[in-house]
């Protein structure tokens, strides 16, 4: 994998992990009962971002690939469910609106990561 792409992805995932970790910690510690599903999804996304950043640093390509695929599936699922079943989400998650609150980075980043990881494998 191209080292520039690798470290750039690590930085991007570290920033997203920081944002998601802060958001979920605050939501879970102050108002978890209001929207347990939404806040749990935020916590899962934070853990996933951290896992992918570490996997990229450790050159665990397989783990990073699986993590990015799960992340993309999560963004697409939560984003779509947000429109189809809006009653399930009393509050927003990191992945709500396909990550629109984060400039759609949660949607774009796993695509870039998957592309870079798969390209590096061939």
């Amino acid at each position: 994998m191209n080292p520039i792409a690798r470290i750039s992805l690590i930085v991007a995932y570290a920033i997203l992990a920081l944002a998601a970790l802060g958001r979920s910690s605050y939501q879970i510690s102050t108002k978890f009962a209001d929207a347990p599903l939404a806040y749990s999804v935020s916590a899962v996304s934070a853990a996933l971002y951290l896992l992918i950043a570490i996997a990229l640093w450790k050159s665990a390509t397989g783990l990073a690939l699986v993590g990015s695929a799960i992340e993309l599936a999560g963004v697409l699922t939560v984003g779509t469910l947000g429109y189809i079943e809006s009653s399930w989400w009393p509050d927003e998650t990191v992945w709500t609106g396909y990550g629109s609150a984060y400039g759609w980075v949660p949607l774009i980043l796993p695509m870039l990561a998957l592309w870079a990881l798969l390209r590096g494998r061939h």
């Binding site: 080292p3 470290i7 750039s8 930085v11």
Partner: protein, 138 residues
Amino acid sequence: MTSVFTDAVYPGMLIACGVLFIAGLLSTLIISQHRLLTWIVSAFWVVTFVEAVVIVGAVVGGDIPVVITVGYLLAAIALLFLLGIARLGAPDANLPDPNRPILQPDQIARVDGVAAMLVAVAAAVVAWRVAEIIGSAA
């Protein structure tokens, strides 16, 4: 301290983020501009330090939500450590990690440039969120 943040520190922070972004872009495109980026990164540490001091002052002296503001303050500080991350890939970096990427000088300039652009955007968002919190509490 709240008006100091909204009137002076927040606009200053946005300008600093803009300068950092441009320096990062230049370093990515023109390798020789990496030196300029290192100077601007040093200045950005100072600007963030000033931001942190004013935020702490606002938290202590004002009626603003403590937990979320301190959270953003910690985020602003944590972002700084991603600046110049390419140092970890320098050939002479004394790191025991066998998986670390070894970068050439041009790659170091580009990685630092990309990191600076990402951090600039994130730091601007953090400053904006703090300004929103302080502004709504004032």
